[in-house]
């Protein structure tokens, strides 16, 4: 397996000069960034700047035209890519939760480990119940997504991803569709994860949260990374005019 060559001292996600177009529209114009194991990276930037596209390319939901994306040594831009191996390593949480509406919260969490990883249902159920407790949803195991609030659904979605034991978690504006009151409960869940050492890449508009949780912040605009740095310097000493303007609008 190609992952044998990968060690913790190398970036767990390594993105090099990635270009991505939809037809004639070039959305990513040479993006490079590295994420080390255990790091929390936030990607911010105006709407339409290609943040979602970048995140989706990392777990091969979108393909790329050129450049390289490696996740623990697996090259994503490879015709012979084993998508399953990649997706075992990468968990993804979407803005619209995208739970399976015909399955209870517990079943949503249990499904992939049983069907994809072929783990024993009894073990999976035990772990799924722990995960549901971890995202603070005890008592909601038997509820269907349609019976849960947005924040609760999003936490089920996080538990569902975690059930696959990923090495990296991708979050794409996971609080953008939520009521202000429920944003916090989801952010707390993500913070717990980050503090346990999970490698996280988040696209977010919650600047306060990014400042608090991120090890590194990337600001993207029109398909390029304009500026990046640790939150302390990034927020207070932004050099680029576009970054300053964006921050002044959003803060």
């Amino acid at each position: 397996m190609s992952t044998q060559s990968w060690t913790d001292s190398q970036p767990i996600v390594s993105i090099k000069d990635v270009h991505k177009s939809f037809g004639n529209l070039e959305v990513l114009k040479g993006i490079s960034l590295d994420v080390m194991k255990g790091e929390v990276v936030c990607i911010i930037g105006p709407s339409g700047s290609g943040k979602s596209t970048l995140i989706r390319c990392i777990n091969a939901l979108n393909d790329i035209q050129s450049g390289s994306i490696e996740v623990q040594g697996i090259e994503v831009n490879d015709k012979a890519l084993n998508k399953l191996e990649l997706r075992k390593k990468v968990g993804m949480v979407f803005q619209q939760y995208n739970l399976f509406p015909h399955k209870t919260a517990l079943e949503n969490v249990m499904m992939a480990p049983i069907k994809v990883l072929k783990q024993s249902p009894a073990d999976v159920e035990k772990r799924a119940r722990e995960l549901i407790a971890k995202v603070r949803l005890q008592g909601k195991e038997e509820s269907y997504p349609g019976e849960l609030s947005g924040g609760q659904q999003q936490r089920v979605a996080i538990a569902r991803s975690l059930a696959m034991n990923p090495d990296v978690m991708l979050f794409d504006e996971v609080t953008a569709a939520l009521d202000p009151e429920t944003v916090k409960e989801v952010l707390v869940t993500i913070k717990d994860l980050a503090e346990e050492g999970m490698t996280c890449m988040l696209v977010t508009h919650e600047m306060g949260f990014a400042k608090e949780i991120a090890d590194h912040i990337y600001f993207t605009d029109r398909g390029v990374i304009v500026e990046h740095g640790p939150p302390t310097t990034f927020f207070d000493q932004a050099k680029d005019e576009r970054t300053r303007e964006f921050l002044s609008q959003i803060l």
Binding site: L84, F94, P101, M111, Y144
Partner: protein, 252 residues
């Protein structure tokens, strides 16, 4: 009790010659009706199951990456939807039936085709109703949000697993009312099997009223009555199924 029932209809036939419910008092005619019902049930049951399978598989193939497979399915739908089912039945039996091999019967000299007329009726009616089912399921599948499938994709589900575990269960729920209608039509269309002499209920009834013209009204009544019951059972079952598949908080 049964005696009075039989006696009543014998008397009725005597008093009113147009109302000869002969199958209620003559065991031989009753046996014909029972046999006819059996065949109608077999046809209905087999065709409902097969046509649903054809619908599921066809809808799956319609989302195939191969252009040729998609075209083939589209061609199948066009043909079976746009031609009369009765003509299809005759075509299957008389045209295709010629090319299927036959085996020698136990008596050593009769040639028995491996697909009987009942077999051909089931095949032809299933493909007929199946063509509609493909369309019905496809509409259901299109109602399943891309993003839900993407979530399954991101969790490592294969295309097949996503279809089976996520897309189909959701598409089924959306498709049920239309499926219900098509299956009701299918059950009624089984009477066309009379065209290739399948001894189903209509065939038996026609035979009875040919032998006993005085039994024509009663057998027609029996036909209507039987199908009302049969279709009623189907609809009842489908509604039960719909209820069983209800998901709290979904689809309202």
């Amino acid at each position: 009790m049964l005696e009075t029932f039989i006696e009543f209809f014998r008397q009725l036939a005597d008093d009113h010659p147009r109302w000869n419910f002969i199958f209620f008092y003559e065991p031989r005619q009753w046996a014909r009706i029972v046999k006819g019902l059996q065949y109608t049930l077999i046809l209905s049951f087999a065709c409902v199951i097969l046509s649903v399978i054809i619908g599921v598989v066809g809808a799956w193939l319609q989302s195939s990456p191969s252009k040729w497979i998609r075209r083939f399915v589209q061609g199948y739908i066009q043909f079976f939807r746009n031609t009369p089912p009765f003509v299809q039945l005759l075509f299957f039996y008389f045209a295709l039936g010629q090319f299927t091999p036959a085996v020698t019967g136990p008596d050593g000299w009769t040639e028995i085709p491996i697909i009987s007329n009942v077999g051909w009726a089931i095949i032809s009616l299933s493909f007929f109703a199946g063509a509609f089912n493909v369309e019905i399921f496809r509409a259901g599948i299109e109602a399943v949000p891309e993003s839900t499938q993407e979530a399954a994709d991101a969790l490592g589900f294969s295309r097949m697993q996503t279809y089976k575990e996520v897309v189909l269960p959701l598409a089924f729920r959306v498709s049920l009312p239309a499926l219900n209608n098509n299956l009701v039509n299918l059950v009624k269309t089984t009477t066309q099997a009379i065209g290739i002499a399948v001894p189903e209920l209509l065939y038996q009834c026609v035979s009875i009223w040919n032998d006993y013209p005085s039994a024509q009204y009663p057998t027609m009544l029996l036909l209507f009555f039987s199908f009302i019951i049969l279709v009623g059972l189907l609809v009842f079952g489908m509604h039960r199924w719909e209820k069983a598949m209800y998901i709290p908080g979904y689809g309202e």
